[in-house]
Structures are given as C-alpha cells and as structure tokens.
C-alpha cells in the first residue's frame, strides 16, 4: 500500500500546509489554516488551545475520518487526501486507534464484544478474537466485567474498555480526544498512566486536552489558535 508521493519523506504522520474549510450554506468556516507538523514514530503529543481553535478538526484529519481541503497529510507514506473511502477505512482499521471523550462504546454489545469490534472488521476467527479481547480486558483490570454492558460500568471502566478496543488491532498510532474529559481526576490520572505506558511500549500518541496537568504527561505540546499552530513546546 506504499504510494509515497515524490519528495515526501515521513516515517509516521506529517501534515504539510493542511487547511480545512467547512462550508455552511454560502458561508465558509476555516477550521484549519495551513498546519504543518511532523509527528515522529513513538512520540507523545498533547494538542492544546482554546475552544474552537481546531484541535478536534486536526485530530479527525490525523485519524483519516476527514480529508484536508488543501495541503497534504502523509500517513506512514500514504497521501491520505488522494485515497478513497474504503482505503481510509482500511487505514483506520490497521494503523489507528481512537479514544474519545464520551467513550463511544456500543450499548447493545458487551464489554468483550466492544473490544472485539476492530477484530471483527479485520475478519479474525471468533475464538482468536475472544482470546485477544479477554487478554486486553485482563490487562486493564476488566476481566470480571467482560460480559457486562457498557452502561453497567463506571466512567473510568468504560474508558479502559475504549482503550482496550483502540489497542485490539495493535495500531501504531493512538488518537485521543480529551480522554479524561468525562472521568474524575483520580480516574483521569489512572487513564494517563495507561496511555503513558502505551507510549513507552512504542505507540505514537496524539492527545487533545484542555488540562495542563494532563498535557504534562506528553513529551511535546502543540498549541493551536484560530486554526493555526501557535507554538510547540518540547519536554515534560
């Protein structure tokens, strides 16, 4: 699937002059105005900035849920802007994992089935897929909850299920939009421990957050303002 465009050398995820304009009727809302950032393999980023500065828009593009209006997004050598819908699905399935503020678990499915979701679309054998889901559940202290519905779990537990699901397909990049936004601070700390551990095990983490003490877990902090990069801060 390597369709690297000429001149593009980018190991993990790179944004080159990315613009995103939303059209609302005859009005144009620019959400991103020329963002260029290189996310290295194994890096740990926090994306910060005021409300409406374009953080979620940036994450959606990085997550192949959306395409740039102009500019290029290279993901492990592929020019995402040129790919069709099915290929974007394929990229999300094989290379990316999402963690959302509101957990986004499917209420009709059990914990185990939620974790298996990517494996189902990858076409894993049910036995292997269940085994993998149990393994991940155990890792995040959910072993006794595999048969439960998401609504029967606490916020922290739900977010751990969501993280387990994001990891099921063993992606190299985890994208998290305010992963601690809906849990209390103690749980938030626990979740950040898990995310830091994932980064130490080699995963690239790009995380949107409002809270400085959460952002402090990251090694690079990207500050957005009015759809543009204000500045980048290195170190803890």
């Amino acid at each position: 699937m390597k369709t690297t465009a000429a001149g593009a050398t980018c190991a993990e995820a790179c944004l080159r002059e990315v613009c995103k304009v939303y059209r609302m009727g005859d009005q144009e809302v620019p959400a991103l105005r020329g963002v260029s950032v290189e996310f290295d393999p194994g890096s740990f980023w926090a994306v910060m900035g005021p409300s409406g500065s374009g953080k979620s828009t940036l994450l959606n593009i990085l997550g192949c849920l959306d395409r740039p209006t102009s500019g290029r997004y290279l993901l492990q050598g592929d020019d995402v802007g040129a790919l069709d819908d099915d290929t974007l699905s394929e990229l999300r399935l094989r290379r990316l994992g999402f963690v959302f503020q509101s957990f986004n678990l499917i209420p009709q499915l059990t914990v185990e089935e939620n974790i298996q979701l990517p494996l189902y679309y990858l076409g894993w054998e049910p036995e292997k897929s269940i085994e993998r889901a149990r393994e991940l559940a155990a890792k995040f202290d959910l072993a006794d909850r595999v048969g439960h519905r998401p609504t029967e779990l606490s916020g922290g537990q739900q977010q751990r299920v969501a993280i387990a699901r994001a990891l099921a397909n063993d992606p190299s990049i985890i994208l998290a939009d305010e992963p601690t936004g809906n849990v209390d601070s103690r749980m938030g700390g626990e979740i950040m421990q898990i995310i830091s551990e994932l980064n130490r095990s080699g995963k690239t983490i790009i995380m949107v957050t409002h809270e400085p003490h959460i952002a402090a877990f990251a090694r690079q902090r990207l500050y957005m303002k009015d759809g543009a990069v204000e500045h980048i801060e290195e170190g803890r």
Binding site: L93, Y121, N169
Partner: protein
C-alpha cells in the same frame, strides 16, 4: 470465516430486534399475513387440482358419465299414482353404444337402497345392478373371490360382489366367499370382494361408497323393478327410474369431449327434457383450475398488499433504527468499518426481521389450510415447495425494503455520526 461473520451479523440482528420486541413484532405483521396468504393460496389451488386429478384417476379419464337427474320442473305423468318418471332408459344404453363409434364400452348402473342381512347383522346397502365391465371401468381391484361374469347376468344368478368395508361389517370374521346374504327379499351368494374406494367420493350420488353391493343388472331389474318409493315431508313420492347411471368408455382422450356433446344431444332428442346429466371427468380439472384462479386472485391480492404494506413498515422501522443508532454507525466507521459492511449489517438485520415474520407466517400459513379443510371442507395440499417459496418471498421483501435504510446508514458522515446524541 465468512460464514461465522454472517452468523455474527445475524446474531447481532436478532439481538437488536429483541431489544424492541413489540415494535419488531408489529413490524413483521405485514410479512406474516402476506406469507400465510401465499401458503394458503397455494394449498387451496393444489388441493383443488389434486382432488380433480384424484377423481379423474378414479372415474377414468376416458370415461363419460351420464346420470339420471330429477328434472327441476318435475312432470308428474300419472297424477293418480303421483309417480314421476324420469332418467335414463335401458334403450339409452344401446342407443349410445350404437351411435358412437368412439364409445368402446358402456356400463349401466341401477341403484337401489336395500337392507342386507346375514344372520343377526344388518347393513344398509346401496345395491348396484350392473354388468361385468363395471369392474374394469371403475378400476376396482379384486380382493377375494371373483367378479361377476356375463353368465351371471345372462342366467340371472343371485350373486353379489361386496366392497371390503361392507364385507367386514356384514360378514365380520366369518368365512367370506360363499356366504348367503339376504338382500331385500332374496338370497344372494357372495362371490367376491373388491377394494373399497378411499378418499373423496367419485360418485356424487351417494357419499358412502363403502357399502356398495354389486349384483347383475338383470337380477336387479327382476327383483327390484323400476319403481321406487321415497318419503319426503309426509308425502310419498313414487319414482320410475330405469337406470341411474351409464358410464361410457371412449377410445381416446381426444374424443371424450366431442362424444360427450354428442351423447348430450342424442339424449335430448329422445328424452325431450333434461332428466340426465352428462359429465366428463376432464371437466373437473377445468373446474379445479377455475377455483384455483379465483383463490389465486383473492389471496394473491391479499398477499401482495400485505407484503407491500409490510415492506413499507419494515423500511419505516429500519429508518427509525438508523437514526437511533447513528452513533453506533459512527463508532463502527471510526473503528474501520467500510460502507459496504454497514450496508451489510443493516440489510441482514432487515432480512432477519422479515424472515422471522416469514417463519411466523409459515406457521399460520400451515394452520389456515387446515382450518379451510376442516371447516369449509375444501381439500388443501401444502407442498414443501410453497414453504421454500414463502421464505424466499419474505427474504426478498427484507432485501428490497432494507436497501434504502441500509444505504442511508452507510452514507452518514462518521464525524457527524459520532457527534450525534
């Protein structure tokens, strides 16, 4: 792997439908009624043609049956004795045999109700005075003894052939052949037993064929005469009927209908009144076809309307379901589901819904023909093929009306869908 994935989808579909049991059930009703109508329709049609074929087989497809019928405007010839004279005459037999080269054989039947008696046992019999050819034409296999011969007829022997049922009831376990049975005033020797007729009565004149007793025509004529007394509503009606029935066997199937028409006009010329009816077993098939068509139109319309309304109901519910589950769709897409996989999921769910309706419909559809048979007395036959067809129809309804909601689901923007509350 593909199969287990389909199974997972089906299980998920069932799960979602069970989440809203009442709603799912109400949605299915259209398909339920549609499918049961289809099955009932096919069962009635099949029953009608099966009955017709059965009768044709029994009566012989090359046979023409002429029966004596009391005319509607009954002419009382002899007012003093209040006797009505009608029906087929002994001469008619020779007339028909002589006039049509296509008629190979002709068999008469004189029907007399008489009590049969053997020792202490009695049994109401329908005595059939006929000739030996009867047994060939109506294809009654012999169980024991022999059938009558032309010698029996010529010498006017007092012999009788019973049916299996009649024999069992009258003779019980005693020796069968050779028993002397008293019929009316005389003694008849049982010379043979033929198989009883089973299924729907081929001869409409008397429903109970099991107690037929066949004796030589000449004997019947001599012993019982041509005058019968019937008691109806206090009045005694005397009738003079020579022959009750004639069966003419025609050489080829193609000549049957033309010969029947010829017999009809021949009899008309000599009788001058409609005191007979000519029927052709083949016509029964035509009649059955007509019944089948009527039922097909009525039930077919019910089925079509039910299925259409049911399909629209299913589509409506699935559209509501897509709206309710927008977020789920967003999650699946974010995780990596392709559009066609979302289409597949919703389509399978719709098909599960309509097929469940179809299965319930098959259950009811099996009940309906049974009710028709037991209450309306109409024969019905449920063929396995009609069940397969019904299942196919319900699946098709699911696919047809599920396509639009499924594509609506797949075309949702993942980001919008994830943000949906």
């Amino acid at each position: 792997m593909r199969r287990s994935r389909l199974m997972l989808n089906v299980r998920l579909g069932i799960k979602n439908l069970r989440l809203h049991k009442l709603r799912s059930f109400l949605t299915m009703l259209g398909v339920v009624f549609g499918v049961s109508s289809v099955i009932a329709m096919l069962a009635v049609g099949e029953g009608a043609s099966k009955e017709a074929l059965e009768q044709i087989r029994k009566l012989g497809s090359n046979n023409i049956i002429v029966r004596s019928v009391k005319p509607v405007k009954e002419q009382i010839r002899e007012v003093r004795t209040r006797m009505s004279i009608y029906g087929l005459l002994y001469e008619d037999m020779e007339r028909i045999a002589g006039s049509f080269s296509a008629v190979r054989r002709i068999v008469p039947a004189k029907l007399v109700r008489q009590e049969g008696r053997l020792g202490a046992r009695t049994l109401e019999l329908r005595v059939v005075g006929t000739t030996p050819e009867w047994f060939d034409l109506v294809r009654r296999p012999l169980v024991a003894g022999r059938v009558m011969t032309s010698t029996d007829n010529g010498q006017r022997r007092g012999v009788v052939v019973l049916t299996e049922h009649g024999a069992r009831r009258l003779l019980a376990t005693e020796g069968t052949i050779g028993q002397p049975v008293r019929i009316g005033g005389g003694i008849f020797e049982v010379i043979g037993i033929v198989q009883s007729e089973s299924g729907f009565g081929g001869d409409i004149q008397t429903p109970d064929q099991d107690v037929d007793a066949y004796i030589p025509l000449e004997v019947a004529r001599e012993r019982f005469g041509d005058i019968f007394t019937q008691r109806t509503a206090g009045a005694r009606i005397r009738e003079r009927v020579e022959l009750h029935q004639l069966i003419a066997e025609v050489a080829t199937l193609e000549e049957v209908e033309a010969t029947a028409a010829g017999i009809e006009s021949l009899l008309m010329r000599f009788h001058g009144k409609q005191d007979y009816r000519v029927s052709v077993p083949l016509a029964l098939l035509r009649q059955a076809e007509a019944t089948k068509r009527t039922f097909n139109i009525v039930l077919g319309s019910i089925a079509a309307i039910s299925l259409l309304v049911g399909g629209i109901g299913i589509m409506n519910i699935m559209l509501a379901s897509v709206t309710e589950r927008t977020r789920e769709i967003g999650i699946r897409r974010a995780v990596g589901a392709k559009k066609k996989q979302i289409v597949g999921q919703f389509l399978i769910e719709t098909v599960v819904l309509s097929t469940t309706g179809g299965l319930i419909g098959i259950g009811i559809g099996l009940l309906v023909p049974w009710l028709i048979t037991s209450f309306a007395g109409m024969p019905t036959v449920v063929k396995p093929g009609s069940l397969v067809l019904s299942l196919g129809i319900s699946m098709t309804v699911g696919i047809l009306f599920g396509i639009y909601p499924a594509f609506r689901a797949a075309d949702l923007d993942p980001i919008e869908a994830l943000r949906h509350e």
